[in-house]
Symmetry: C3
Subunit: 469 residues, 3 copies
């Protein structure tokens, strides 16, 4: 037991299983981190500037933190979260930090608490617990650390033992930070990911303008269907040059479609004007998942589908503070019918990998494991967002392994913009997976040698292989 962290945290309670879990964990604890999907800012690695103050680094940008505080009656303004118009109601980092510290108890039992305590102790050397009384001590210690060179982005990247990290950029992004990283001679591997939602979703803000920009960037005629598809091909190639091995698609549903070429062209004409009906918008998104999958067959990019979030659920918060303010809520999501058009088109392609994510845990055993347990192109992404948690991971393994096994899964994603928490997040996943394997051994379902092999797979090899990194 160190100051804030129990050395045996997240392992099974049974002593024999715990011993084995600890043993397995020791064999993977120091493996390099593969972070094949996430949202850190490539500019950090490019410019390698100091991070901002503690509140600006840890509280203000973290939707897990501010959503919980909002739920307890603490408004976004008091937490310094910027408004849609760019103004900031509270700019005093120390004041924000104190408010957070005084309410740190509301995170009891959440993964945020696990990630933060890990970060506080192992990154900032803090040895007392965070609360109102220790708020200033924390603030000063963290601020001091951040002012030092060994806490700049590249130093942390190396300290974290990151072998490869993927960022996520929109289709129109110039990728200048990735270029700057490459040209800097720094050897840290930071790759981008092609995330074309803004030029695929007719309901995205500024969709028609986005198409025009896409055309300008690629010299393609995005006024018509074939030119639009060609523009995607060119941007995908451009992203691959910046290291991308994958695409990512954040859709409200997992619907796919496989229209005839003439139907698709006519649909494109209807939506490209920027005034699509909701039905047309949904059908176009569905069609484009299939198109993206077909392009992946051509160019080998791994396709990720993150489906099922109702974004910006509160109209008032969207108006006052804009997107990504913690008001994104999961919905019931279907896969069996939704994916059929795409699977009928490309589901048996030998060189295709499609990684499925869900926010509807009921789909794990009923739909996702059963689909991934037979279609060769499908793999199951790790538990996502609210389910990137101890119990979430346990439910995922318990619900999927018996039907899809381990080899249709792809290791862990930290999926975060909270850079300092990356080691903590991988550590949680490694601990939970080792605990799960230990329980399988202790209940006679695996032998220890297999568990040791699988621990390596889950912590490192499956991610590298599935994402072709």
């Amino acid at each position: 037991m160190s100051a804030l962290l129990d050395d045996d945290r997240l392992f099974p309670l049974d002593p024999a299983a715990r011993d084995l879990a600890r043993h397995l964990y020791q064999s993977v604890r120091d493996l390099p981190i593969i972070s094949p999907h996430g949202h850190t800012d490539p500019r950090w690695y490019a410019e390698n500037a100091h991070f901002p103050d503690p509140a600006g680094l840890i509280v203000v940008p973290d939707h897990y933190i501010f959503r919980m505080l909002v739920s307890q009656g603490i408004g976004l303004d008091r937490l310094g979260v910027p408004r849609a118009d760019g103004s900031v109601a509270e700019a005093d980092g120390r004041k924000i930090w104190r408010l957070f510290a005084e309410n740190y108890h509301v995170f009891r039992g959440t993964p945020t608490r696990l990630w933060l305590d890990h970060t506080f102790e192992s990154l900032f050397g803090l040895e007392v617990r965070l609360n109102g009384a220790t708020a200033d001590l924390y603030y000063d210690r963290i601020a001091d650390c951040l002012s030092r060179d060994e806490y700049r982005p590249r130093a942390l990247f190396e300290r974290f033992n990151i072998e490869a990290i993927a960022t996520t950029e929109g289709a129109l992004d110039p990728l200048q930070w990735h270029r700057q990283i490459r040209e800097s001679g720094w050897t840290g591997r930071v790759v981008t990911t092609y995330r074309p939602d803004a030029v695929i979703d007719p309901e995205f803000e500024g969709f028609a303008d986005n198409l025009r920009q896409l055309g300008a960037l690629t010299d393609c005629d995005t006024g018509e269907w074939n030119g639009y598809l060609e523009a995607h091909r060119k941007r995908r190639a451009f992203f691959r040059e910046a290291g991308a091995t994958a695409t990512d698609h954040g859709h409200p549903t997992a619907d796919t479609a496989n229209l005839s070429d003439s139907e698709a062209a006519a649909l494109y004409t209807r939506v490209a004007s920027g005034a699509a009906s909701p039905d047309d918008a949904g059908l176009f998104r569905a069609q484009m998942l299939t198109e993206m999958a077909k392009m992946s067959v051509e160019d080998g990019m791994v396709m990720q589908i993150h489906a099922g979030s109702w974004r910006n659920h509160s109209a008032a918060i969207f108006a006052s503070h804009g997107r990504d303010k913690g008001f994104d809520i999961p919905r019931r999501t279907s896969y069996v019918d939704a994916l059929k058009p795409m699977l009928d088109a490309v589901g048996l392609e030998p060189n295709l990998t499609i990684i499925l994510f869900t926010l509807d845990e009921t789909a794990y055993s009923r739909e996702l494991a059963t689909l991934a347990g037979v279609y060769p192109c499908l793999r199951l992404g790790p538990p996502w967002w609210f389910f990137d948690s101890v119990e979430g991971m346990k439910r995922f393994r318990a619900a999927t392994t018996e039907t899809a096994g381990f080899y249709n899964t792809v290791g862990f994603n930290d999926d975060t913009r909270a850079f300092p928490s990356i080691p903590a997040r991988h550590d949680v996943a490694r601990r939970v997976d080792c605990g799960y394997l230990a329980e399988l051994v202790r209940s006679g379902q695996l032998i220890e040698e297999e568990a040791a092999d699988l621990a390596q797979e889950l912590a490192y090899r499956l991610a590298r292989k599935a994402y072709r990194l």
Copy 2:
């Protein structure tokens, strides 16, 4: 180990976690009971008469008991459950009790068994197990107890250490028993709850008549929308005078609506006649949830929504025996889309508390914890009805804590009309919660001091605070 009860029942199996759970439990075992939602009869406390015979107290009114016996082929008539016409096929309490006792084994593994054994041992001092051979011994012992003064309602209320209990009355109820309790000088705190389903649901039996009665009671013109709303305001005030701090709404779905005033008025005109279409009936219920929430903003009453039961599923049983005969079946229930109109209207109000209950456990992690984990007005009610059980409580905590934490939950509801079982029900909840907390400590997710604090919150403080008692 006492006669019927294991002292360590419901604690984790792991010895270290069990020790800690026991320790936590000892610190909350004797806390007063807050029972903020339930269905005991206020007349009991008002008149303080002796309870009826054992079968009449324990078997005949308990839908958990008779539904299970019906499932095994024992008809309601043989159990003395009254028919819709008021007749009773079997009036011999001892015969009913024997039938129950002979089949007591079918309750193995159910919460009913836990509650009853607890009641038998701790309230009636029984030390042998119930079965056909001991049926008469039980019957005689319980009957003897019930004849004594220390088993009358107020004596039990005090013996149970109830600090406050809420009953539930319809909007038209004269609340005379609550007045009688107040005027009696007895200090037991029994408050009512405003449950206006019969004047809100156009499909309720006698809806049009109910509206007329509502108008007569309040001197409001319930022939039109504004008069109808005003009548609600007056009844809410009348209920608050009888101690009510909360309202309760039992709806088939969680749908809400936020119509314009003129649309709502027109809708009211259509439904008030008592001949609403199913669509209008649903829309009116939906609109009224939002109206009730708006009134809660005005008057500070806590709002409870119990959604998702298909009442009276068997047409034949409804015809022969009427409502509430165990044939109420949960249905899949949506919240994310259903609650949006209400949340857009009042979701960010600082003084509003809406407590959500569900019979669809799939909503816990996907919809309810994610909504309550950000909207400041929302709180999660404890597991309800079929899920007020050991595994049901464990699933609730495992599915909600990581996203909504503990502080968006509201402690325990016994929600019962089975008065003698109230201590047993709170005891089960306290044990399961202490076990859950102990496991979090033993797996390094909380420290012991935090667990001790949370044990108090879950057993006592959160309920008192959330219900403003």
Copy 3:
């Protein structure tokens, strides 16, 4: 610990619970097997011929095995799975076996692995683990065994201690193998089951022809509704003569209907031509579930409903390889509304048993346990297909027992065509159930004597009673 199997496999990890589980298991381990629902071939028992080579017995016909290998990119052709046209791309059993053995690690954590290791060790005496290096050793050993008389079907049947096994035959089946078994003087009890999907589902291949055949077999006029119903009655009687005590219905949904006689007759006329609309097809299947239930009231046959599989999800695989090739995917399935017409018609009949199965685990606690916990005709079938697994069984018990108890369940079904694995499958169920009971005892929810009684019920008595065997 024997060579491949841990003696304590699948028992709880906690040592005290494990000891008790082992003790309970020892009391049921050697009980006879009741296999009331499955798909073994009656011809095996009739002809008692040697089984084919190891690959032909174990790999080629087992959809659990080949679907997992397909998911890892190994095509059906390489596994010797016959194509729709009857051709077989790979006929070399040893080559197929080697491919399987090299990839055996992908089954880690699946029930297939448990069943196979059990079979390899206890049936074929293998003491090293299967992998590429031991593939030939396995092949030779198993081939050698299969050539011996003590590995012929009847010898295995007796060695497996099977008291009764049910096969499943279509309504048009002549049941000659069952006759041959009866006439052979062999005393093994092999009964059939009436599975009339091909003459009930208007979307079944050859439906119109099937109706004509049904008419010819029964001398009934299947050109009209009453003749069609009469034909069912005759076939049901014919099946009962071959020992059938049950019917089985594999429907895409659990929908039921209860049309008037004239509506049903008109509907039949529309569908009998073989050109039903999808709506008519669905409605006819729904109506026929109610008709089958009514006939069960008449003739006492137990009715099984297996609902919720999207059969043949991949159009390409269906075209190349036909039905039952591992591409059957579960879908969300509703029961509360779906079953109401049938339950209103026959739900309170005293002599009726309807056993419900699901592939949608969310229905366990919400719909199935709540329905079976009150309707006297309903019973819950054991976890089916993908959920016939360790975690699947645990989730089933945890989700259903508290509401439906044990006595509304019906023991275990192996539901398999993989004859050699039958003891392994029952062994898994017995171990998991004993572990569950042990945990209930250790957590004070049952006493040991009750657990011992329930272990017998779950392993043997409930199945025999529910299926009237």
